[in-house]
């Protein structure tokens, strides 16, 4: 009987640590995109709530309960992380398995904003980009999903095939921020 061994996107890339900031891989149980059909956002959100206890998030936001989270990832689109979706949702929305499409990283530590300021054009200042906020923007030359998941913690999603580039760019930014801090 043949057996296929699974590999995660950042298997041999993470974790890395530079001074106070660490970058580690996050591997959710599953990631499923949910795109309600015409006029079906509310009914899909209700179906999600009854099946998994969370509603669909509005633009730029995320909802969550326990280890299940839904993040807003584009016009009329959200992604549910942490659980296989109940088939009951199918008539209301297009569901598509994205579990293997994304490399998910967690950037943690004081100065995370400064690291991302080297790569992301959006303002991640805590006063503006609060816990639970999600943005689809750029990470260097790549498209990325960036979420604040704590006072000093961000989650970053890039396409799986670009995990190497993302880790390299984040590590360079971490080193540069640390080198500047050493001057002060």
């Amino acid at each position: 009987m043949v057996d296929l061994i699974a590999k995660t996107p950042c298997a041999d890339l993470l974790p890395i640590k530079v001074e106070a900031v660490t970058l580690s891989e996050v591997t959710p149980e599953a990631i499923t995109s949910i795109m309600p059909y015409e006029g079906k956002w509310e009914v899909a959100s209700e179906a999600l709530k009854s099946a998994h206890g969370i509603t669909l998030p509005g633009p730029g936001r995320s909802t969550g309960k326990g280890d299940i989270r839904a993040i807003w990832t584009g016009a009329g689109q959200a992604m549910v992380l942490g659980a296989r979706l109940d088939a009951g949702l199918a008539p209301h929305a297009a569901l598509s398995d994205q579990s293997d499409a994304w490399a998910l990283m967690r950037l943690e530590g004081a100065g995370g904003e400064d690291v991302l300021a080297r790569l992301t054009p959006i303002d991640l200042n805590p006063g503006v980009f609060k816990r639970g906020h999600v943005a689809r923007s750029l990470l260097g030359h790549m498209n990325a999903v960036i979420a604040r998941v704590g006072a000093e913690a961000f989650e970053i999603m890039v396409f799986r095939s670009m995990a190497g580039t993302a880790v390299h760019e984040l590590e360079e930014a971490m080193k540069s921020v640390a080198a500047r801090a050493a001057l002060r």
Partner: protein, 90 residues
């Protein structure tokens, strides 16, 4: 330059790509080639001043936007989802 995406909010223009004039929303119905098609694909008023054109928020929410702006001062006057603008045109 900055464009305020109706869904994502105010963003740097590096997140968007530009297609062309608003006329792209009004695809002619004729099955064969016609003067309307020549207008649609090629001829442009090309104003020096206020115009409306189509932008794609590729690095953001992948919405197409109809942006009213000034081609001389680069002021952005109004932004709406192209989907809503198209539906509004009936």
């Amino acid at each position: 330059m900055r464009i305020k995406c109706p869904l994502c909010g105010d963003r740097d223009s590096r997140e968007y790509t530009y297609m062309g004039h608003e006329t792209y929303l009004d695809r002619p119905g004729d099955e064969g080639w016609s003067a309307d098609w020549d207008d649609y694909l090629h001829l442009r008023d090309n104003p020096a001043g206020v115009t409306r054109d189509l932008w794609y928020h590729g690095a953001g929410c992948t919405s197409w936007l109809l942006v009213e702006r000034d081609t001389v001062t680069h002021d952005i006057l109004r932004v709406e989802l192209a989907r809503d603008a198209k539906r509004g045109r009936g």
